[in-house]
Symmetry: C2
Subunit: 300 residues, 2 copies
Amino acid sequence: MTGAAVRPDTIRWYGERIDEALVRMLDELLEGVGPQVADPVRYAVLGPGKRIRPLLLMAACRATGGDAESAAPVACSVEFVHAYSLVHDDLPCMDDDVLRRGRPTLHVRYGTREAVLAGAALMPLAVLAIRRGAARLGLGDPTARRLVGRLTVAAGGQGMVGGQLLDLRAEGRDVTPEELETIHRGKTARLIAAACAMGGIAAGATDEQVGRLERFGTRLGLAFQATDDILDLRGTTDELGKESGRDAVLRKATYPAVHGLVEAERLSRALVESAERELEGLPDPGDLRTIADWIIARRH
Amino acid sequence: MTGAAVRPDTIRWYGERIDEALVRMLDELLEGVGPQVADPVRYAVLGPGKRIRPLLLMAACRATGGDAESAAPVACSVEFVHAYSLVHDDLPCMDDDVLRRGRPTLHVRYGTREAVLAGAALMPLAVLAIRRGAARLGLGDPTARRLVGRLTVAAGGQGMVGGQLLDLRAEGRDVTPEELETIHRGKTARLIAAACAMGGIAAGATDEQVGRLERFGTRLGLAFQATDDILDLRGTTDELGKESGRDAVLRKATYPAVHGLVEAERLSRALVESAERELEGLPDPGDLRTIADWIIARRH
């Protein structure tokens, strides 16, 4: 979309690192916990997934001079938060989805009450993952504190959950482009921006570099949401691994609904270009750009 | 129950301090957040409540030589976690309760999807409350890290949520006394024990003192759960401010169901006595003992 070639090897390398780290981190954090608890938590996290947020965190770490692979344990935290949000989104009382990533959703597999609880377990586990990951990187308590702060603000009322609540209140009515951006900033972009910023913090980046990574993440996050909205409208259930066309059924606030399909696609491209300009001047932004391109170019 | 007189003035003093702190902390943490998000979050936390966990934290702080009132901002964190657990417990897909603390439950008042989200917002807010509270106490990052660690472990799969998942799996069948204790340790006692330990940590207590506070909290938490089970069986809806007799309807694992009513009451008393023995030798355990007695002697 932005001219750069998408290199599947890069994505695969990162994906393998984070998948290994997720398995190991859950083994550590769920040690001594019975299968009634551990099984649904693992199911929530370890299914097939694009791992966009942890990949961005790891690549942002590399972009600012850190070691991407060493950041994988910290990166587990953003995937935990994302996974919990998907579990709760899918609940019968929320979007009532029965398929996610091509598998039955957690509540279909384990029961609704189990899904509420397993989702809720992932937020504290995310904080614990940061602590372990930061210790393994040899980061001091002040840096660990910054990482926890970024994640919790991005996940809470001022971030993801706040955006989701605004989103609910917008269903079934027309929203302005400004409202749409506020919703999507909270619902999607804040956590993606936090992931990028956290990669920089883990690498010991300067405040100026962390600021660049955060702006990059915010714009990429908005573009990602636009792409997601467009895909929901265009894709088939088989291609998406989840039911398509749900947004329109629920009259959700989406980029195509507010701007029309063509303008939504243009906006998405413009956001990615503006995001990638923030990367200029960072020591090693190649992988981060590759991942951004892959996220936006994806077909499912 | 244990011979000490219950002093309502002490309870009232602590209750007023924590209620003020909860209002202020939510004002700070929800600054700039719209009413769609802030209203249900405030409703979840600010209704009438006994504030058992934050009172224990504050009194545990005093018990080990700290200032109880200064610990109130940190103490907000344990009430946030408790409040989120109640919101999720009450959901139609969970216990399906319509009354809580004499008011309509959050999902009845604001909608089910809003209740799922507002509950989820409280866990990150709890972590943020610790950070603010610790900074205000002048505690360093290592101490803040210990506080966050205690809370997140107690809230997650090895604690509250884990216990709730085990509890679900135990419904409708007979459980052994050992299973019952495992369930109640996770579901109830871990968070109460964490609150007590956190009070000591905030006061700069020794590891030996923090260990005593934690054991005190665990035993008190188990006794509290036993009392709660007994009250659910005996109380009326008017007295409890929530529907009574629900445990029996749902065939939940409770102390009276496993041990019989008389033995459950004896066990509860023995646990409180054993808990309070842990307080001997602490510098100023009077308020903590008063609060423990009040918790167990309460009629609703």
